[in-house]
Symmetry: C2
Subunit: 350 residues, 2 copies
Amino acid sequence: MELLKDTIKRIEPVDSEAMEKARERQDDLTKPRGSLGKLEEISIKLAGIQGNAIPEIKNKVIFTFAGDHGIVEEGISAYPSEVTKQMVLNFLNGGAAINVLARHVNARVVVADLGVSGDIEAPELIVKKVGYGTKNFVREPAMTRAQAVEAIEAGIEIFNKQFRGAELIALGDMGIGNTTSSSAICSAITGRAPEEVTGRGTGIGEEAYRKKVTIIRKALELHKPEGRDAIDVLSKVGGFEIAGLAGVTLAAASNRVAVVSDGFISTTGALIAHTLNPDVSDYIFAAHRSVEKGHEIILEHMKLEPILDLNLRLGEGTGAALAMSIIEAGVKILREMATFSGAGVSKTVE
Amino acid sequence: MELLKDTIKRIEPVDSEAMEKARERQDDLTKPRGSLGKLEEISIKLAGIQGNAIPEIKNKVIFTFAGDHGIVEEGISAYPSEVTKQMVLNFLNGGAAINVLARHVNARVVVADLGVSGDIEAPELIVKKVGYGTKNFVREPAMTRAQAVEAIEAGIEIFNKQFRGAELIALGDMGIGNTTSSSAICSAITGRAPEEVTGRGTGIGEEAYRKKVTIIRKALELHKPEGRDAIDVLSKVGGFEIAGLAGVTLAAASNRVAVVSDGFISTTGALIAHTLNPDVSDYIFAAHRSVEKGHEIILEHMKLEPILDLNLRLGEGTGAALAMSIIEAGVKILREMATFSGAGVSKTVE
């Protein structure tokens, strides 16, 4: 609990003076003011995060965390739990979508097992298992409060050891059943009804979808999680990988490192971090607008505007990888473009 | 005229069989079907363009064409015409936004003068000047029909000489006053009213904006361009760089090379190409949704869905450069991801 408390305490507000200077510099670059839209805003936000009017990105890391979910035994997922383990092996072999996109944007992928239901033998895998999958939360709490804290702290430790000075990190997830946990967490924290925050995950039919909504409603009625207490919510309906990603988010913010949230699950991890310390939102870039409808609701709750909208619903950190490249583009604009005076370009006729 | 006619004639429909095979392959990759949304669609479209179920992108070129506009003397722009020349020099010195973003996505930039009003001394600049700026089209036609054809053919020639086997090319523009020409062209071809297709360009105030709309309406009433005759429209209210970009689009399609249109002006160039041969749309990726409102109308007309939405309104090919990287990501997904059988991942529980 000490590590979590210390990490939360170390998070400072972003540097508004650096942001002001970055904005001035943007306005002096050889282009009409504001004509690079979100690229300009991104660079200014990053200036605030890094506390530097001319921010820099040299290294990028994607944290893809895996965990299983006891709720899967209710038949609310299109894939069996074994797929979590199979996909972790796929990540380690470099054949998954996240590997392809991480290579494309030149980011390193850190894969960690926070609670996969089986054991995975692989030297490159970081194992910080808090349990062999969560409990079926429509019957009993997903985990204990102690486990929730342990999983968040595992995320903090993995970040601290693995970020190695990277200036931009991303959140990624793998866990069959984790959209069900995310919808339950989202409903508990934002107060929105289960049917408003529940989507079709990896692609379930109408019947399984209705069951999924019913189960989430039942679980929330059974456990009555307190939305302002993120540990309570996590312990009752959470997932180990989601808790771990909350830890990564807090650790990154406490180190003034920018975080790119991916889709619904990883943004739920960011939401847990935000509930523990609202200042973290200023350190987060929302990569994209997922097809999962709860995602939009979390983004609104955290006042984040997504960078991309590509109809993605895969997770793993895939959308975040693509957004990392856009964020880097924004930073390069600020760092590398000529100024009006430097390039001998007339500023305006008006 | 022969070069233009031949180029148009050489454009073939895209390969639907290659697209079908690409779709099958996407469905066998280790991810839920369709979960990579637009990335999947992009790869399938490119398969059709290249006539190859597993398309490839090794080289990328951005064609940034410059030209001046006589209409600027009416006071409808925030910048004076000299800025066109100054910005061309900025492109050649590597200090403009397009240079930064092209470096970021590893694309080559080809800068050409299709009709800048002054002479530019620079060995790296491709000079295919059709005139020293167009005429003020609220008083007389912007150019002759012969000049319109000459400018399109200049674009074809530049493409043919400079694409050097690249599989993906982008359109970029520079020309003070060119949103006014683009709005007039858009109105003439799509039949939409001037006020529906006219925006604030580089950032003009309310008075200049009203003047801009009035001038476009006057010019269209004076010249009565025939919307189905692209050469007629170009000659009456066009621009040399816009015509050149239409030529690049036609030449790329005739070589089965994918084209990324950028914002309002370059997409107007693509619209001219589309009016000359509607098949070209299948070769075009719309990079982004520009702030300029006529852009959306052209995209609808050509049935194109933009990849990005970043509130850009700069031109130069900046949005197209960023979209090139997303298109490349889609292609890499198709080429590099593991299949279910190859990776030992269970396909589905249902």
